[in-house]
């Protein structure tokens, strides 16, 4: 079995908070809260990321008129070692917590897991969140922020932001209808500065498996958004799909290319990070479903599961892509 179908999982509320660069992008009006700088009134970038998780979860609960004690379980993840932002946030909640890591594919993973708990009746309400911060991610995976090394044109910029979604069995206008877990896809690509291209085959694999197991095709979706493939990985994926003669017809887009204006903003090949697919899907994509402009949307969050140590030991980059489908419901 490749795809898990859900019948009773609905989006009760959702929220997105984003940093200053994202607040200048095309989706600025769709975010619930933005910050003036990347410190978010905190002393370190790590604390800033945690503050964004707090804000995102707080806004999501307030929108649904729920108290923290009404939430049965939380799923969350981020990019820092030991899921620092998520675990330190969960420390203060006193709610059962499951932390998950799939690099930038974490968003679909946590939502998929939360949906399973709701579907099976293990939880009445489940909260899922992810966060990422450009400064903490640079520090974790690359160089100090102010280090003057010339970055390659193929790199992407980590999105600063956090997104949260409250899932519940209570019908609402947006339904979570399916989840396709990804398989690790490693094609011996080892350029850590070009993760978009590295991840494209993982998205391609998940997309094909999802289509096969649900017997659907591009025409059944209003939009299929990949997570953070960058301009290069996105064109690579398009190429693979055209070779297979898939009727793509402008139904494919990429969250990392939607969150920034790549021609105006200085973000290299587009956005990436745990928050990238989360912020775009929780703001723009689900809003379109709620407004009735889209009936069915699939988000394929893509993650490059590289470790800086493994890359220095000349290993290739294992990649993964998890897909999640949202549908409009008349509930």
């Amino acid at each position: 079995m490749n795809t898990i179908q859900f019948k009773n999982v609905y989006v009760a509320s959702r929220s997105v908070v984003a940093g200053c660069l994202e607040a200048q992008g095309p989706l600025k009006d769709d975010f619930d809260k933005t910050y003036e700088d990347n410190y978010c009134n905190e002393k370190s970038f790590e604390k800033a990321e945690r503050a964004m998780v707090y804000d995102a979860c707080d806004i999501a609960l307030r929108k649904a008129n729920q108290k923290p004690s009404d939430v049965d379980i939380i799923f969350g993840g981020d990019l820092i070692n030991q899921l620092t932002s998520s675990h330190y946030f969960a420390r203060d909640t006193n709610i059962p917590f499951i932390g998950m890591y799939a690099a930038c594919a974490t968003s679909s993973l946590v939502i998929g897991q939360a949906a399973m708990w709701i579907e099976q009746g293990y939880a009445k309400q489940a909260l899922a969140f992810t966060s990422s911060h450009v400064a903490t991610a640079e520090r974790q995976f690359r160089y100090p922020n102010e280090y003057g090394v010339q970055k390659k044109a193929t790199t992407t910029s980590t999105v600063t932001g956090a997104g949260a979604v409250l899932l519940s069995a209570q019908p609402s206008k947006i339904r979570v209808s399916a989840f396709t877990p990804g398989k690790i896809c490693d094609w011996n690509y080892s350029d850590a500065n070009d993760m978009g291209v590295a991840m494209a085959p993982a998205a391609y694999d998940t997309l094909n498996r999802h289509f096969q197991s649900t017997n659907t095709d591009f025409k059944d979706y209003d939009l299929i958004a990949t997570g953070d493939l960058s301009q290069l990985g996105f064109s690579f994926l398009m190429d693979l799909l055209y070779q297979d003669e898939h009727p793509v017809e402008h139904r494919l887009h990429d969250c990392g290319l939607m969150i920034y204006d790549t021609s105006e903003q200085d973000v290299f090949c587009g956005g990436s990070g745990c928050a990238c697919s989360m912020c775009v899907s929780m703001s723009k994509l689900l809003e379109e479903i709620e407004q009735g402009n889209y009936q069915r949307v699939m988000v394929i969050a893509t993650g490059a599961l590289l470790s800086p140590v493994a890359i220095q030991q000349k290993e290739s980059i294992p990649c993964i892509a998890h897909a999640i489908v949202y549908e409009r419901s008349e509930g």
Partner: protein, 146 residues
């Protein structure tokens, strides 16, 4: 999945690297740093009435100071993205690697943060600088007698 097909398809999506442009920008910007250094050297020699040998360390220290300040204000990394090796190869690159790593370590305190992280990037320059100085010094002593 067919790895060969993926590798062949991916080749078409690799962007062109602008090696010629990068080389010219690095040559010009590195040259400007050299020009500034020479200018500073002349100024120090004139103003302080010292010889070139005493003025050169002052030039180096001044460039390190300017780099540290511009790194702190977040200007240096933007300029370095444009200039590439032009700012990376001169002493400014070394100063920037120290300052940026020290800034990053600030949140973990003076010992475990700044102290142990400061030479994180510059460490390999020092290690191989000292090792090669020893090696070539020894070679010179053996071959030419000092």
């Amino acid at each position: 999945m067919d790895q060969k097909r993926l590798q062949d398809t991916a080749k078409a999506h690799v962007p062109k690297t602008h090696k010629g442009r990068n080389a010219i920008v690095a040559f010009v910007s590195g040259g400007i740093i050299g020009l500034i250094g020479q200018g500073l050297c002349d100024i120090f020699m004139q103003l302080l009435d010292i010889d070139q040998k005493s003025a050169l360390p002052m030039v180096i220290v001044t460039i390190i100071l300017i780099t540290a300040i511009t790194t702190g204000f977040g200007i240096y990394d933007k300029a370095a993205q444009y200039c590439g090796a032009g700012l990376f190869i001169p002493i400014s690159g070394f100063a920037n690697s120290l300052t940026s790593a020290a800034m990053e370590g600030k949140s973990e305190g003076p010992i475990y943060g700044i102290g142990s992280n400061m030479f994180k990037l510059a460490g390999s320059v020092l290690t191989y600088g000292i090792a090669s100085a020893f090696f070539f010094g020894a070679l010179r002593f053996i071959l030419f007698g000092g």
